[in-house]
């Protein structure tokens, strides 16, 4: 395919940005829980951060030619799970800590 817009490269960079952002947010939640939360909340946040790291890893492993013949569904679910997992931690931090 003639691709003057470098679609594949732009999409790969978008995945990278999202992975980095997800890792930073999960890490920040862990730091915040360390400062504000009780022990169990820190443990829970560490679990969420570890799961987020696994999700980023899973999305990175699935990287490859996108478009015809491929589906981003699994990778998309993996990265979309990060805010869904970190959000309850944020709510618990606000309510419990």
């Amino acid at each position: 395919m003639t691709d003057p817009g470098l679609q594949t490269e732009r999409t790969a960079l978008a995945w990278q940005r999202t992975g980095v952002t997800g890792s930073v947010v999960a890490g920040s939640a862990l730091v915040a829980a360390g400062h504000l939360g009780a022990g169990w909340l820190v443990g829970l946040t560490a679990l969420v951060a570890a799961t987020s790291a696994l999700a980023v890893g899973a999305a990175a492993r699935g990287a490859g030619p996108v478009g015809a013949g491929g589906s981003p569904w699994g990778r998309l679910l993996a990265v979309a799970a990060i805010p869904v997992l970190v959000a309850p931690v944020g709510i618990l931090l606000a309510v419990v800590s």
Binding site: T11, W15, S28, A32, H35, P72, A80, V84, V86, G90
Partner: protein, 139 residues
Amino acid sequence: MNGEPEVPGASPGTGPGADHRLPRSVYGVGDEPDPRFSMANERTALAWVRTALAVVAAGIGLTTVTRLAALPRALDVLAAVMCLLGGLLSMAAVLGWRRRERAMRLGRPLPVPVALPWLAAVLVLVCALLAVAVGVTRP
């Protein structure tokens, strides 16, 4: 794609060359769109996920600042709402990708981004409440 010769067995769900990609609700219908459009759809979904992450991060940040600066605990409600909004937005990102991809495959008009006006409205409301809270607590 239109204008190209039909490949026997390439239609979704039939023959040896059947399309087994997931989700079936997307790849089980219609024709393959231009890959550039699919990739643009993918980038849009990722942009929504990043927005969701930013909203969750803002909620956690607000909780942290509230504790460190000894601000009123009422701000925690705002923080919790922001975290909840971020989580919901992430789910909307995935569902939005699915709706758009499906519409492209079926040759239908792209659906309206439903989450966009809601996100804008909630963020404006949160900012207004935050401004009121900060104004009230100022010495």
